[in-house]
Amino acid sequence: MDPLTWTGSLGTVLNPVLFFLVPLFGVAVAARILLSLVTPETAVQSNPDGTLVATGGMQGGARMASNGLGLLLLVVLLAYLALGAVMGPQAGIIGAMSQQFVPVWIALAATYALSIRYKRRLGLYGKLFDSTIGMIGFGIVMFWVFTAFFAGVFDWIATQDSLSQMSGMKNKLPGEPLAQPEDGTYPWYLLGGDNLARDVFSRMVEGSLVVIAIAPLATLFAFMVGITLGLPAGYYGGRLDTLLSFLANLILAFPVILLFYLLVTPEIVLTGLPQYMAVVLFLFPLIFAGVLIHARYRTQPPRNALWLSVVLVPMAVIYLSAINEPESKVTFWPLDLFDIPSGILTVFVSVVFVNAPTVFRIVRGLVMDIKTRDYVAAAQTRGERPWYIMLWEILPNARGPLIVDFCLRIGYTTILLGTLGFFGLGLPPESPDWGTTINDGRRLLSIYLHPALPPALALLSLVLGLNLLADGLREESLRD
C-alpha cells in the first residue's frame, strides 16, 4: 500500500485555491490595519428618509475584502474536513483523520443546533452563543471533550492501540502504511510512529482522555477548597483571615515545579503523603455540600435530614472509596468500590493543592467586596446565620467572575498537567498524556518533528479554546 499524502486527491483541487487565498487574505488584513491607522474612521451617515448608510471609502473596501476572503478561506478549510470525512483515506491524511472524527463532528453539530435553537432559555450558557469568540472557544473545548468521551467510552476515534508497538514503524513519517498489516487493523499510521513505534495519532487521541478527565475535576476540587476557606476568611476577617492568607501565600511562594518535585516523586508516594493530602482535600466537597444544605434547611429539620442524607451518604461512600487503596497507607475502609491508580491520584492531589490558594485569594477578595452591599446588610438584619449569608447571598452574586476564572483555571491546570508530564513526574512513562508525549518527542526533535508536534498543538488548542471561552463568558456576563 502507498503512503498517504497530506491531502490526497482532494489536494489537486483545493490546494491551489488555498495557496491563492491565504496570501490574499493576509494582504487584505494588513491593508485593513494600515488603512485604519492612516485614514479617518468610517462614519455612519443618516439619510433624510431615516435609513442609515455606512460611508465606506478605502476602509470599508478593505473591510469587505478581508471579511469576504476570510469567509472563503473558512469555506475551503471546512471543505477539506467535510469532503475528507466522506472520502476518507482517499483525501489523504487530513481526510482520514476527519473521517475518524465523524462522531465528534456529529456531536458538535447537534450541540450547536440545539443550543442555538434554545439559547434564550439557557441563561448564561445560551448567551455564550451571542459572542463569536465564545462560540469558537466553546467549539474547540467541546471538540476535545467529545474526542475524549468517544475515545474513552466507545473506543472509537483512535486507529490503533496507544501502547502497542508495530514492528518496522519506528519514527516513520505521517501517512506511512503498516509494515506488516493484519486483518482488522487500520492500515496506516496517520501521523506517523514515535520512537517506540507507537501510533502518534492514537496516542494524541488517548491523551485527551487523561487531560479531560483530570483537569476539570481537579479544578472543581480546587474551587471547593478555595470557596470553603475563602468565604469565612473574607466574611469574618480578623485572625482567621490572617492565618489562612498566610498559609495561602506560603504555598504560592513555592515555585510550582519545586512543589511538584517535592510531592510527586516515587519516594514521597511511598511515604503516603499524597494519600494523606487526598484525605484532607477530598473532604472539602463534603463539607461544602453539607454546610450548603444545612444553612438552607436549618429551620426545617425533616427536609434538612432528608437532603443531607441523600447528598452526603453517596458522597461519603465515594470519598472513602477514593482515599482507600489496598496495599497503601490508607486502607481502613472495607467497602472499597474503586481504586484510583496511584499516579493519577498523586497528580490530581498536587494539582488541586497548587490551584486552591489562588482560588482562595480570588474568593476572599470577592467576598470582601460583596459583603458591603445592601442585600447582605438586609440579610444580617433579618437575622440570617453567617453561613447562610455567605453561601446563599454572597456566593451566587460572585458567580460571574468565578465561572470565568473556572474556565481559565482549567486551562492553567492543563498546562500544569503538561508540565508534570514534561518533567516525567507522577504519570507512568508510557502514559499517552500530552506532556509525557511532548517530553518523549523532544529528544529527537532535530530529526523527527512528527512525534512531538501533534500533542503540542493539541494542548495549545485546548488551552486556547478555554481562554477564548472564558473571554466570551466574561464579555456576556459583563453585559447584564
Binding site: V29, R32, I33, S36, L37, R63, S66, F246, N249, L250, L252, A253, F254, P255, V256, I257, L258, Y261, L262, L263, T265, E267, I268, L270, T271, L273, G411, I415, G418, T419, F422, F423, G435, I438, N439, G441, R442, L445, S446, I447, Y448, L449, A452, L453, A456, L457, L459, L460, V463, L464, L466, N467, L468, D471
Partner: protein
C-alpha cells in the same frame, strides 16, 4: 511606610522559615534519604548498609535538630569513629577537628555543601544565578517593551481591526506554555527536517559566549508566555482609561489623537501593568526551569531540577530560599511601587 515595610520583612522572614522547614522535612523523609544514600554511595547497598551510611553522615537524627543545625542555631553534630578520627558537620570545614566551630549554619554564612556537585551551595547558587540573571535580563528587555506596545496599540481603539489582531496574538501566546512554544520553535527554526536552521536548538554554548544564534530562542520562549498576559492587562487598562472623562474633555477641546494617547492616557494606563509585571517574576521562574531544561542551559532552573531530582537537600534549600526571596521581594516592590504611582492608594 517604614512600619509597613518592617512588617512585610517580618512576614517574609517567617514565610522563608516555614517554607525551608517544609522543604527540609520533605527531603528528610526516610525514602528520600534512602534514595540519597543509594545515589551517593552504592546502588546495590543493602538496607543495613543504607542505615549505617546515613548514621555515619548524621542523617538519622530528629528533623528539628538537623534543621537547627542548618540554620546555625543548634551545634553541629560530631562523631568519633572507632579509630579515633572525628567527623562532623563543622569539622569538614576546618583544618583540624579542634579548630572547628560549634555552630555552622546559614546564620554563620555556611549554606552547606551540594551532594551532587560536591561544591559549597553558596558558590553554585551564585554562579547559576548569574547565568539565569543574564537570561532574565534579556527576557525583560524583550518582553516588557513589546508587551506594553502591543497592549497600548490594542487598547487605544477598542474593537478596531488592529485591536482584534493583536488581542488574538496575545491570547494565543498566553495559551502556549513554554514547553509547547519551545518545542515549536526548535522544530521550525533549528531542525534539519524543516531546514531553516536559523538558530541553535541548544543554549549550552550560550553559558560562555551568548550570541543571537544560541540565545534568542530561549529568551523568546520565556518572553512570549508572559508577554500575552501583560499585553492583555495593558490593553484592559488602556481601554478603561480611554473611556475616562478627561480623555473626552481633551478630545472635545480639540487635542489630536496622537497627543491624547501619548500625553494623557499612556501614563495612567501604565499603573496597572506595573503590578502585573512585578508579579510575573514568580511565573518567569517557572518558565526558566522549563526552558533551561529544554535548551540545556545550566542556570538556576536547571540546578533546581538537578537538586530536586537527586534529593540534594542543602542545594535544594539554597535554591528555595533564593526563589522565595525573589517572589516576596517582587511582591513588596509591586505594593510599594503601586502606592507611589497611584496617589489614590495608601498602604495603611
Amino acid at each position: 511606610m517604614g512600619l509597613f515595610i518592617l512588617r512585610r520583612v517580618g512576614v517574609m522572614l517567617l514565610t522563608s522559615l516555614c517554607l525551608t522547614f517544609v522543604v527540609f522535612f520533605l527531603t528528610n523523609l526516610h525514602p528520600n534519604l534512602e534514595k540519597l544514600a543509594k545515589t551517593q554511595g552504592n546502588v546495590r547497598m543493602t538496607d543495613e548498609q543504607v542505615e549505617v551510611w546515613l548514621e555515619n553522615r548524621g542523617y538519622m537524627r530528629p528533623v528539628i535538630v538537623k534543621y537547627g543545625e542548618w540554620l546555625g542555631v543548634a551545634p553541629g553534630w560530631t562523631r568519633t569513629t572507632e579509630d579515633g578520627t572525628v567527623t562532623g558537620r563543622c569539622v569538614a570545614l576546618a583544618a583540624t577537628p579542634d579548630e572547628a566551630s560549634t555552630f555552622c549554619g546559614v546564620l554563620q554564612g555556611w549554606w552547606g555543601g551540594s551532594t551532587v556537585f560536591k561544591e559549597p551551595v553558596l558558590g553554585i547558587v551564585g554562579e547559576k544565578l548569574a547565568l539565569t540573571g543574564r537570561l532574565m535580563l534579556w527576557v525583560m528587555l524583550l518582553m516588557v517593551p513589546s508587551a506594553l506596545i502591543v497592549g497600548v496599540l490594542a487598547g487605544m481603539r477598542e474593537g478596531s481591526p488592529l485591536d482584534r489582531t493583536l488581542s488574538t496574538v496575545s491570547i494565543t501566546t498566553t495559551a502556549t506554555p513554554e514547553y509547547v512554544s519551545g518545542v515549536l520553535f526548535i522544530a521550525i527554526f533549528t531542525s534539519s527536517a524543516v531546514g531553516l536552521k536559523w538558530f541553535k536548538g541548544t543554549a549550552a554554548s550560550a553559558m560562555d559566549a551568548p550570541d543571537f544564534e544560541n540565545f534568542f530562542l530561549p529568551v523568546l520562549t520565556i518572553a512570549l508566555y508572559g508577554m500575552g498576559y501583560i499585553a492583555r492587562m495593558t490593553r484592559a487598562s488602556m481601554a478603561e482609561v480611554m473611556t475616562a472623562q478627561y480623555i473626552r474633555t481633551a478630545r472635545l477641546k480639540g487635542v489630536g489623537f496622537r497627543a491624547i494617547v501619548l500625553k494623557h492616557a499612556l501614563r495612567n494606563a501604565l499603573i496597572a501593568p506595573f503590578t502585573v509585571i512585578m508579579l510575573q517574576f514568580p511565573w518567569l521562574l517557572n518558565g526558566v526551569v522549563i526552558v533551561e531544561t529544554l535548551f540545556n542551559y545550566k542556570g538556576f532552573g536547571w540546578t533546581l531540577v538537578q537538586a530536586a531530582g537527586n534529593n540534594d537537600i542543602e542545594l535544594l534549600l539554597g535554591v528555595s530560599v533564593v526563589s522565595v526571596f525573589v517572589v516576596l521581594v517582587t511582591q513588596l516592590i509591586s505594593d510599594i511601587g503601586y502606592v507611589y504611582l497611584n496617589p489614590r492608594i495608601s498602604v495603611t
